[in-house]
Symmetry: C2
Subunit: 85 residues, 2 copies
Amino acid sequence: MFKAEITVTLRPSILDPQGKAAHHALGELGFNGVHQVRIGKFIELEIDAPSAEEATRMAREAADKLLANPVMEDFQVKVNELAGA
Amino acid sequence: MFKAEITVTLRPSILDPQGKAAHHALGELGFNGVHQVRIGKFIELEIDAPSAEEATRMAREAADKLLANPVMEDFQVKVNELAGA
């Protein structure tokens, strides 16, 4: 069994209203050193696969087809074997 | 200038309906090897601070006060210096 961690981030050219709202709220709380906030997704999958390569392939395909929006978002995949699997 | 990456995940005991919906949709798409899906947040901050330690302290405080919900979520912070800063 493998654990895949998929980090989904908005492309730099895409506006991030949620991040902008968080940035504004941090300013109100006195966090004046924070200059930019971008908010993406962190998705964890548990995958039953014969190898780490195959688990990585499945995680990339899942991100590409469903979990990320390839027009607006980039994603990165990291796969680790689960202990005791 | 530093870049902080904050990974916010739901605590294991908290139900994740969004992850459950994604899991179901992956099953419909034929991803039968995927056994669990948990969806969290990945937040990037650009922080002006005198040191990495101070940037880390600010990022942790921002996560604790605003970006994560300490009752339902855990978070991890990673800080790197931005090139050319």
